[in-house]
Amino acid sequence: MLNADTRDPAALPRLLLTLLALALLWPGLRLSELNPGVLLQAENRQQMGGFVSAFWPPAHDADFLSLLSEATLQTLAVATAGMALALLLAVPASLLASRALSLRAASRGGRPGLWSRVLRMPVRGLLVFLRSVPEIVWALLFVRAVGLGPTAGVLAIAITYAGMLGKVYAEIFESVDQRPAHALLQSGSGRLMAFFYGILPGAAAEVVSYTVYRWECAVRASVVMGFVGAGGLGQQIDLSMRMFAGAEVASMLLAFLGLVMLADLLSRVLRGRLA
């Protein structure tokens, strides 16, 4: 079967890569101490069963629902305000960090000069620093600085997400067709205008899609940060779980599901408009 006529020269390397990946996975499983057998022990099963059985029916009395809607709105507001602040920093930083707007690259076949690469490094370093510290750590820091409440969550999201958005925006700008922008630079336009007329039309759909996805992540992150006292749905889930009020947790998880579905719908509508 593997005679010279039908042999695929890529087959052996692929097989070896698969074996290598499996060999690397095994120590990873050992290091993370993963042991699914624990889930099946009778005592643990009973504990989880008791917690989950309290989920039905979800809590729906009027007092709780008003509390829930308020917490949901607060979570949305934290995520949105955090994203807005993050964009204020991410957009200029991505323009500075991206090689797409190098004037020299336009006349050298896309290769920027040494100086432009050196000058972009501090911006890239700043973006790396902003996103290398997890938002939960920033949240703990800000909870100490500005006290319990949503402000800490907003600031934490703004800082971490500025790093992520700036890095990915810069890479999206570099990955789209550069010739329109180069042609504009070669006919005398400024760099910002070359970006708006040459890069952005090609990058807009991807930028919007990634931004909405990040907004969805920010909603999730703001829930997690609620556990450390940054307000919103997370704080309520934390309180209800401490009180073993499974029905309330179920309602809040349903609200959360609705938020993520909303983000998904928004992303699809915006992409449909732009693509």
Binding site: S107, A183, Q186, S187, S189, G190, L192, M193, F196
Partner: protein, 264 residues
């Protein structure tokens, strides 16, 4: 004098695209550049447009040396030079009107450029530039929906809208039918004559070059093979220019026409 190349050479890595080219083109001249595929016609035009820096020699453009200027001054100089690309690099999702109006970005300030994205600031101007090329009905269509020949006309309209002092065109009609190609070249020439614009165009179709331009430059293997008035171009000059030793079976010279035209 508008364009002065002094021993200019251009390398792409190991490949030598142009080799010690010296040329003088005066204000208001209309010049066609012809030559076989890969001879360096595009490289020569990109060099004149300051799109690439010569790796040897010197370029003088509109009385200035673009590659010793500061980048800001060079951008100002570039705004006075228009280049029509063979396949105009336009974002597929950009509307034709935006693509045409972008021709004057070098002359507009940042504020006008941004406002123009929100609402097109000169619809009549763009419509007039397109109407001359028979594309007025495509004003609000996205560039991605146009054919290759229509895109080339959008590229020409953008360059005309730019109102440059030097108009360079890299095979501007290669994707058009013969009638359109003739019309578009005539329009470029008329525009150049009426406004005292220097026009340099590279062309694959020799008959178009001889019909529309007063001066013809032949390029072969990165060097100037001949440079003479259109009337002085003979068939033996063209035969030598387009001779191709690499083709397996060279076509036998016919009794009437021996010129090999790769593509009309």
């Amino acid at each position: 004098m508008t364009i002065h190349l002094h021993g200019a050479g251009l390398r792409h890595g190991q490949v030598r695209a142009l080799d010690a080219v010296s040329l003088r083109i005066d204000k208001g001249e209309r010049v066609a550049i012809i030559g076989p595929s890969g001879a360096g016609k595009s490289s020569l035009l990109h060099l004149m447009a300051t799109a690439v820096q010569p790796s040897a020699g010197r370029l003088e453009l509109l009385g200035e040396q673009p590659w010793v200027l500061s980048s800001r001054a060079r951008q100002r100089l570039r705004a006075r030079v228009g280049l029509v690309h063979q396949a105009p690099p336009l974002p597929p999702r950009q509307r034709v009107i935006t693509a045409v109006l972008a021709g004057r970005l070098g002359q507009w300030g940042t504020v006008r450029g941004l406002l123009n994205l929100v609402y097109p600031s000169d619809v009549p101007g763009a419509r007039q530039a397109l109407a001359e090329l028979g594309l007025a009905d495509k004003l609000f269509v996205q560039c991605g929906q146009l054919s290759g020949g229509q895109l080339q006309r959008v590229g020409i309209a953008r360059a005309l809208y730019q109102r440059p002092e030097v108009l360079l065109a890299d095979e501007p009609v290669s994707a058009m039918d013969p009638v359109l190609a003739d019309h578009s070249l005539a329009l470029l020439n008329r525009h150049a004559q009426d406004n005292g614009v220097t026009l340099v165009a590279s062309l694959h179709a020799v008959d178009l070059a001889l019909a529309h331009f007063s001066r013809v430059i032949g390029i072969r293997e990165g060097q100037v093979a001949f440079d003479c008035p259109a009337q002085a171009v003979t068939e033996s000059l063209l035969d030598a220019l387009y001779a191709n030793e690499q083709l397996a079976s060279p076509p036998t010279p016919g009794p009437t026409l021996t010129v090999q035209i790769p593509r009309c």
